[in-house]
Symmetry: D2
Subunit: 362 residues, 4 copies
């Protein structure tokens, strides 16, 4: 495994779904940052299961114990470790889990990679539960970013073929982003919720699941952040966002739509707003040549349907080396997109903290 | 800048468009690899300008001089440095370049990041010309991968709204990938060429440019490569592919289409083919939980229209702090997608070499 | 802080002396390694205080809770986190600690580095207590190394001006190294113990402390490990050994004595032992050009006297910006060399595991 | 190989002694630094052979061509590549070199590490010649450091058993360090030169070589630089200094002498000099807990006798697997210490630039 990430803000995530605990060490945080733990809890709750009728009723006690790196509620500059104990884990038919890899899960690839020694209970270290410590680290970084005028937020851009309105890449602002965080279905156009819920309930009733897209914005990031060719904003953010399980695509600004554009459409004209340089359309999502231009950073991430579905599925029996039929038990989210949103926002916040620290802005 | 990439195979790219030279150091190559320099030249030629009527007539002499790391034509295990001298660079109105940042280019963000000291001639270190050393490094890695049964190739998936047929993610194979490399318009459906050319010519005649999408496949990668959460295949490949200028999105397998899928569609059933484990649809693009499953790796990258267009564009005069009108002179490709293809293939080859070396398969 | 180390085996150490807990995340361990926790406890005990009359009577409960990365007692390949709760910490006069930096400690430099937010209680993250998680990680790596035929051990080479016999760099072997670990005063010449103890007791009675040197050997490391110029064995081992507090020098083979040698003395003649290539003197400490030659690796580390002495010392009052006199209270080891030995062995074990994994020998 | 070093200032060194060329890429340099190439040449000359009667008469044309990263003589922020062409290399009996590994050289270990494919001519990538690009990179970093008030310099502390006076760790200053650079035998006590020369001439006349120690000081480094536990000043500097061939030990401050000290001797009392915090003895070499305290940084490196001696030596015939006698031909420095001095100063300068950039002081 390589669950360590970062150059300037380094995180090291650990834990398995059914192990003793999960958590994260965050190294490189600036000293003297007063943390609001209620706010951290708020972010953790956004990601936690059981907060909505479309979400799994499984309860997690996700508030981590912070072992180090703070004195009172203020960072010391030393590494911060947060541990969340696992609980509410049920006993499992381990032999079956090992024999019959679940389609769409990492059971098979993990077994090959780790010679069959990976913990497959609940997905082990591949579990979506590992986004809890990521969300914790993100919540810490958000507060540090906020203090520098940077706000990260997002909305559900699509569930199935039901779309929300995208962010206006020029006018999106901190108030809008903070307001979105109050809602489980974070939407720019609240009317989209009904259609999204229907797609989720339809999937659930058919013992299936459904995917989606989240869109993230970061406002207030100053121009001049990012170090191309390989330390550019897109490189850095994608390298952490793809660490969130189920993400299969990441795009910035107009993203894949640039294919259909002309240069006269995708080039962002510069102009002055007072004495500030802005672009008038922000097609580039706030990033030119890997470096921020001071406009909102816009990215989208595609999230595949949760692979845990209770329909019969074709798989193989690894022990007996023959084809087999698998039925996955347990209760699972038919759609993880709403809960993936705060996790991906968190990944972006960590990424931006790393990038800003590199250029002395943290 | 951070033009250094890699953990196991490390590349360090240098140079500016109008400087003395450009090149790359590749550190960590296995010793004893016999290199075919004609094959390297072949890959360099695919990327070079002037090879097609749609491409800029500017000529580059792109065969690098290899300074180190080989004895005869065989790698020694020591770092390999390749240098390409710049030539055919015309004198420029430097003062104007610095004052009037080109929309869609890194002129402005580079100036902020490097306090106005960045070399803006021809885009400097941000120039697409820097993909030449990347292509060299990729050509070296390709040969090493081929020897382990891994072939990387790709095709133009879209130019504007004209699409080629996508790869069949199950049956795509080395022969197909190698055949594609013979053509400047690498297409699965050759009939698409005419429509693509028309879109390019239309853009050119309107002093505009057009974007596109490339699709890459890597076949023969064994199962068990990749180290999640952050050293997974998607993380690693996206972190290098976004280093190719103009890439604004990267997706794996079904990519953004997973949003519209059900789990029953996106989950890949396992089955046995002889005694080999395969999946029947490969929706996941050969990657589950960040680890290869032995099926073809499939990814797509979105490439924005080249920002160098000769229409009048709005920008600002950085010196006089006022709005201004810019006309970019010179001759430029109205579409860089065909030439970006070998560069992105190269990035993928380097990324895979790094990943395979990590698990002892290189 | 940057308490993260490693390329192939990555450790991330956290915690402060008087915080909630201390610990380590170890990422990159091979899967399927059965761990003997009694053996780990044995190594932890060697480092723990209170085991000898010369050592501080302060008791630590140092057996960590392993939160992740194992199933039963076998590694899963996922990151392993071990947490040790802090206890037995007394309340302190925090204001005084912050105002009067202790000479020889990191109180002052930490305050400058972390703007006065560093936790100075007990030395905070700079405390020698942080060698407990390092020793844990080392104990895990030792077992993995042992399974590959590699044994790491050491002895107290000097305390004050009392010297033990150095290792014979050619004949030192695993049995010898394992036997040394049984003793708190690990010595090749047991008669040296009495003199060493006297130097410690003399220091104690004079409210002073005394330094020393440890010598480490690693036997069984195959030839061909290490990646010069900067990933060589000396680079890698020194970069982790200097992470052990109080280490002020690291040397390999004959070390600083090479200054007085002739080439005819320091060059190690090669010969054959059976069909194995050996050197007859091993002056180079098993490392030539940064790469192992298959002979025992030999290194020594200089350890400064513990700076915690109860004599009056000159310092400054940071608040009032004037000179001041400080008397450090509490009970402290007058000599930490015996307890530093297992910590430095551990650092070497982690370093070797990282190096061997790089070349596929782990 | 891993000839890439650094986190904030990254260098990638390439080349073999008898290859086409050697050089370095430096990534991460601040933009806008005007470079004095005469000064760089001056530093290169200090390292070059043939400048003294004790040095090999072999001439190197060592002034590199800078390919990138500068515009005029000012850094652009893009990676700087400097290439030195090899010349004056004589033909060699390659078969003999491969069969008979030279004692004390990396011929044997390199052959094991790189499966016999390493270039052994002149030592290949292990050659001391690779310190030329290191010295170039150091010369660039020195100028950037000087602009921030930091000067790095050194002297020959010992050749054989002939010692110079050590630096006064409190009073050593920039003028003293700059003056030392003017002399090939850089000494605090010029009278030591005669004895040192005699030791070198004696070694030469006996077809032997002799080792030594260099002592380096860096003055003007502000307090608060370094990130323990593993990013501390000692960790970072040792990891690059051990990249200089022949270095077998590195110590800071009193180094190995701390073993014989009492805490009351090795603790540095703090006091105020005006409103500046200083220590009165600087036994710690300017580093406490891995972080600078604002006093001069002091380190020493042990350099083994050059292994190239013309006496008959015992070795093995790798091809025929039998013991053999080797006589190394050619003319070699009987002592490389004076020429290693500027290389090690350079390594320290690069290391300090990396460390200072981390905390925003570059």
């Amino acid at each position: 495994m390589s669950s360590t990430w970062g150059n300037n803000i380094k995180i090291s995530i650990f834990g398995e779904s059914h192990g003793v605990g999960i958590g994260v060490v965050i190294d490189g945080l600036p000293a003297g940052e007063k943390l609001d733990f209620d706010e951290i809890q708020f972010q953790m709750n956004r990601r936690a299961p059981g907060n909505d009728s479309t979400s799994t009723p499984r309860k997690e006690e996700d508030m981590p114990e912070v072992c180090s790196g703070i004195l009172g509620d203020t960072t010391t500059g030393a590494p911060m470790c947060a541990v969340i104990e696992n609980s509410n884990t049920r006993s499992v038919d381990y032999d079956k889990l090992q024999r019959l890899p679940r389609p769409g899960h990492a059971d098979y690839t993990g077994a090959v990679r780790y010679n069959g020694y990976n913990d497959v209970r609940g997905g082990g270290h591949f579990s979506g539960r590992l986004t809890a410590p990521l969300t914790f680290a993100g919540a810490v970084c958000r507060q540090i970013l906020e203090r520098r005028g940077v706000t990260v937020g997002g909305h559900i851009y699509a569930i199935g073929n039901m779309y929300d309105d995208p962010f206006d890449p020029v006018s999106v602002n901190a108030d809008q982003l903070l307001a979105l965080q109050e809602k489980f279905f974070a939407l720019n156009r609240p009317e989209a919720e009904r259609g999204m819920r229907r797609r989720i309930e339809d999937a659930r009733s058919e013992r299936d699941s459904v995917g989606g897209i989240v869109e993230i914005a970061a406002v207030g990031v100053p121009a001049g952040v990012g170090s191309p060719m390989f330390g550019g904003v897109e490189n850095v953010l994608s390298s952490i966002v793809f660490g969130v399980p189920a993400v299969k695509g990441v795009e910035f600004g107009a993203g894949f739509d640039v294919a259909r554009m002309r240069g006269s459409e995708s080039n962002d004209p510069f102009t002055l707003s007072g004495n500030r340089v802005i672009t008038t359309r922000n097609v580039c999502g706030g990033i030119l040549g890997g470096i921020t231009d001071g406009m909102p950073i816009i990215l989208r991430a595609a999230i595949k349907p949760t692979p845990s579905i209770s329909q019969e599925q074709h798989t193989i029996d690894l022990k007996e080396q023959r084809d087999a039929i698998l039925t996955v038990g347990g209760r699972h989210d038919p759609c993880i997109v709403p809960r993936a949103l705060p996790a991906i926002e968190s990944a972006v916040a960590i990424g931006l903290a790393d990038l800003m620290k590199e250029v002395g802005k943290l």
